[in-house]
Symmetry: C2
Subunit: 365 residues, 2 copies
């Protein structure tokens, strides 16, 4: 399996990325080399910790790094103020100084929480991402978005804080449940359909291998996705313009997750349905070739991803979107794709068109 | 009285500064012009709110800005997680979007708390500082350091987040207690002694007028201090080098405040004593002319500021410094001044020399 290294330049700091099987074994050496840290807080969760924390600690110890392990409960509910305050207290006791670092070993929740704790500890200490879910590997681990949820909404509080280093070890996907692996593929498809047609065609060509979780196919998909995401986020670190392309499918996805109370539907599954809705809307009003929309539906089907909403009313989705919209702009805005690989800036969509689109993808009346 | 405007360029964003009597009346127009906000959360405290919140709200309303007033208890104890979480909830209810802004009306505590809440709300919304204490006007309002305290230490959690606009209205100093006004002058003296000899000489020439709180002298001191601080922080936004000059006097000041439990001694008073200690140490080991040290002591005396520790043991100070030192570097480091207007990078000082210096400035054994 090929390994890959590259560096993502940002104005204030750059992120080194290393993608390789067994890269976890080099976590200590790479952390020492990139950050200079001799002491780290290793943040993980109750699912990932029992599987990989020991290996991570050994790798850190081999590089002469003193490790303080902090384990939070697995699941979105750990992205909350109390857990954040708990991490700060642990950093204080260690103590983690500006010469030290935070290592996030886990999926998106652990990365968002630990990254935000690192962003705010002593006004910012370096952090290292070790994503263990496919979704985190291809998407959330790079780009520097960190944060926590409030009771009233996800990711309301946070910071942009680029990790100094991201270690992607596809070998850890062996323990990722198949359903979570498929959900991660939804974000790969998203990056293809909204930002890079070549990546979309790669997914089409290797759909069966990706669906089956073949390591070589997954590793290639990860590397390609990270390169696409790198291109997008380096153009727009603070999410004021082109980076919004990465929200393709997410207007509906967030509303769907909220309406379902984050139960029974994974983020990637919600994104899959959200992309079908956004692509249909793009056919209706943005000139997208209907053939491109059908290819998207077909690919998602091959990957075992949902294309229709499950047990949710249109009114509940509309309510959730109205709440969500207040955060950024004052209208319900959707990222559309005039053609495959190209996304528009988020556009305000009339309530009538939104309703029609929701019904298209199976919302109950 | 002369008014002054300037813009501080930072890599990611710049800060507009307006210094003028009655500038508070232009808060709305300036906020609208700088941030485009049509809705703000106005954060103030129980001391300042009753005096100036109504005027601020009127000024904002005149510019067509909807204002959500949030009042926190006056005092350092408001720089805590619970207050921060309370601000986030208020921002959520308003709601404050990325197109809106946060206005901090108050002293250093309000600026640090509200600025940090703005830094982390939706990964960063614009904020406007309206400092009402002399200390905040000359020092903490610009430079972008924001944050809160933990039970174990001050400013452990925070972010660098430059205000978009700072409105300095010296007229509000009329209601500042004389003791607080004098304490603010300590930071002006600090900027002179450590960074700019001309500012120090200005303070010497106008010491009587400054001590008496004459408006023209204070306004001139504010403008000069802000220009010096601007020069320092634009060279080193993230506090990795030259900005440490601004910590002259602060190694002992922080320990003194901690040892006294933040009771009975104002930050500026602690800085005054801390500068005397650092200047003595500079005479001993950094080649500072003893005449410069004596001028510092004389100026502080004329300004009515303390030069000796009050009721604190050397061991308590040493304990506090050992705790503080863990945050940044692993040694007790002091900023020294080889000559007036020039500071060294923080230098490790032996425990023996630290003890001698503490006794010099009146620590009990």
């Amino acid at each position: 399996m090929p390994s890959s290294r590259f560096t993502i330049p940002f104005p204030a700091a750059s992120t080194r990325v290393r993608i390789a099987r067994e890269a976890l074994a080099h976590l200590g050496r790479e952390t020492r080399r990139t950050t200079g840290a001799t002491r780290v807080a290793l943040v993980t969760d109750t699912h990932v910790g029992p599987l990989y924390a020991a290996a991570a600690c050994r790798a850190l110890a081999r590089a002469g790094i003193e490790t303080h392990l902090v384990t939070v409960p697995a699941g979105e509910r750990s992205k909350r103020i109390e857990r954040l305050a708990g991490l700060w207290r642990r950093f204080d006791r260690a103590p983690i100084t500006r010469a030290d670092a935070v290592v996030a070993l886990g999926g998106g929740v652990v990365g968002d929480l630990a990254g935000f704790a690192a962003a705010t500890w002593l006004r910012g200490v370096p952090w290292v991402g070790v994503p263990t879910s496919l979704l985190a590997m291809v998407d959330s681990a790079i780009g520097g978005k960190t944060g926590i949820d409030l009771a009233s909404g996800k990711n309301l509080v946070g910071a942009f804080h680029q990790p100094a280093l991201v270690i992607v070890d596809p070998a850890v996907l062996a323990t990722l449940p198949a359903r979570h692996r498929r959900a991660g593929l939804a974000e790969v498809v998203k990056m293809g359909f909204a930002c890079d047609a070549a990546l979309f065609r790669f997914c089409e060509r290797h759909a069966a291998a990706l669906a089956a979780g073949r390591p070589a196919a997954l590793a290639a998909a990860i590397t390609r996705s990270l390169r696409v995401k790198t291109r997008v986020v380096t153009r727009d670190e603070r999410d004021r313009g082109p980076r919004s392309a990465l929200n393709f499918g997410h207007t509906l996805a967030h509303a769907y997750e909220t309406a379902r109370g984050y139960r029974g539907v994974l983020h990637g599954e919600a994104v899959a349905v959200g992309m079908c809705a956004a692509a249909r809307l793009s056919v209706r009003i943005a000139g997208l070739d209907p053939g491109a929309w059908r290819r998207l539906e077909r690919l998602l089907a091959t990957l075992g991803l949902p294309r229709r909403l499950d047990r949710v009313r249109a009114t509940a989705l509309e309510h959730a979107m109205r709440h969500d919209k207040k955060r950024g702009t004052r209208d319900t805005r959707w990222v559309l794709t005039p053609r495959m690989g190209h996304a528009s800036v988020p556009q305000p969509i009339t309530t009538r068109l939104v309703r029609a689109t929701l019904l298209d993808v199976g919302a109950r009346i």
